[in-house]
Symmetry: C2
Subunit: 272 residues, 2 copies
């Protein structure tokens, strides 16, 4: 998918919501466990109910890998279901991959070709030649960790490297990599004030922002510092939406949650 | 597997060789492609031929993921084959994973429980709470990237953070993490001189060293700087062994390559 098509979808749906499919057998309604593929059944219900309010879905690959071959099958069915029924939706394989060049090329093949995702998240520790193989695929996007939303973000990402924090150096260096226009960045919303700093380095790139939750206040703050003329934001919510209810109408309740967030996003878009 | 059992195996086999199973459909002998599971057939032949000379096998997970469900099946058969037939062998899932706590816990489940590997490689960028979930599994080992062997290692890993390079800070901080005695570290052999520096910080930990190739000279240098009283080294070779020949006796030729390296390692062990 082109960035242009993503932006058009955002304006059409008045939403920049990404729904994280961190689908966990221990958390989905128990009556689904008797189904042939409970994870896919859950995802399908969530996707059918929420697709009007979301512009992106982000399966968290760990949750599928944890179930081995069975989990990989659920993942494949999920991405095929989205691509077939809602081809306008931007898909993110949240995989945090990254290795030496020939190995990263294999990961890129796995997520861009075998599974046909539009994008994949990657980790920057191994540098340029660990990320560039992902950037070789036209109209595919590589979403690199910059500043994450967890406590451990302050272990290394905010260390001063010469003049500035590591995450800023990571972002800055990545701008010179081949096909860097296909890069997006993960920036945790627990640090909305950092978004302004990041926008000075990459005014035009899309940011994938986890950790907002369902609170309108934080959304407003993230938009204040992070939004650009093309919106430039995908805000992810996982558990607050998909596990909003454990009853048989979990999908409708998830949709209601998503609709509330979409409404808040529509307000923010008016200010553009 | 306990570290003690690994050390015993090293002394018994007079080897600290790890063989990387970067099994690529485009590189294995073409006659194998007509088999039901060419990747597993290749791995099985390599393992049967080389297990006397190696103490560890390291499937590179990207190479299996690239083939989707089929690849995941080949991976599962491979690890089950090793665990069943050669239970003394230390197994490494080379996966370079790392995410927020609950997600890392799922990756740990995938590799330690679902696939029953002894260890997994992880990336440190997301800090303490992204690595500790892996360390919760008793007698399992977490092999964290410190200084990698690729060109991109110099993009961020060697940046000065306050007083010292990032990779040193990564190693130093990790020592305070819970169950850090189950940590090992990836240190590329392209920088043998750095091994001495690293040994000052972690004299006792095992180091997984890629990038040695088949040259005896580099092996000697790595041992000079990196070996400790318990050996403390696992030296990986992938392509130089497994793709030594494309003929029908590829496995014997791989074994001959492995035997040469094992012989060089035996010499190094005599100096202990």
């Amino acid at each position: 998918m082109t960035t242009k098509a993503l932006i058009e979808q955002i304006h059409k749906k008045k939403s920049f919501l990404c729904i994280g499919l961190d689908t966990d057998m221990d958390k989905i309604p128990t009556y689904l466990l008797s189904e042939d593929d409970p994870i896919f059944s859950f995802n399908k219900a969530i996707i059918d109910a929420t697709h009007k309010y979301a512009v992106a879905y982000k399966p968290n690959i760990a949750f599928y890998e944890a179930y081995g071959i069975k989990g990989w099958k659920s993942l494949k069915k999920t991405i095929e279901y989205i691509n077939h029924n809602y081809p306008e939706i931007f898909t993110i394989a949240d995989a945090k991959r990254g290795d030496i060049g020939n190995t990263s090329a294999m990961y890129a093949k796995a997520f861009f070709q075998e599974l046909a995702f539009d994008s994949v998240t990657v980790a920057p520790y191994m540098g340029k030649d660990s990320v560039e193989p992902f950037l070789e695929f036209p109209n595919k996007h590589t979403i690199m960790l910059a500043l994450t939303s967890n406590e451990g973000a302050f272990d290394f990402q905010t260390l001063k490297t010469n003049e500035q924090e590591l995450y800023k150096t990571v972002i800055e260096k990545s701008k010179s990599w081949k096909n860097s226009d296909q890069l997006m960045y993960v920036v945790g919303a627990t640090k909305a004030e950092y978004l302004g700093e990041i926008r000075k380095i990459i005014p035009d790139s899309f940011l994938l922002v986890p950790g907002v939750g369902a609170q309108g206040g934080r959304l407003e703050e993230v938009c204040k510092y992070g939004m650009n003329k093309d919106v430039g934001l995908l805000i992810n919510s996982s558990r607050a939406i998909i596990y909003a209810s454990e009853t048989s109408n979990f999908a409708e309740i998830a949709a209601a949650k998503a609709e509330v967030i979409q409404g808040q996003m529509a307000e923010q878009l008016e200010s553009l």
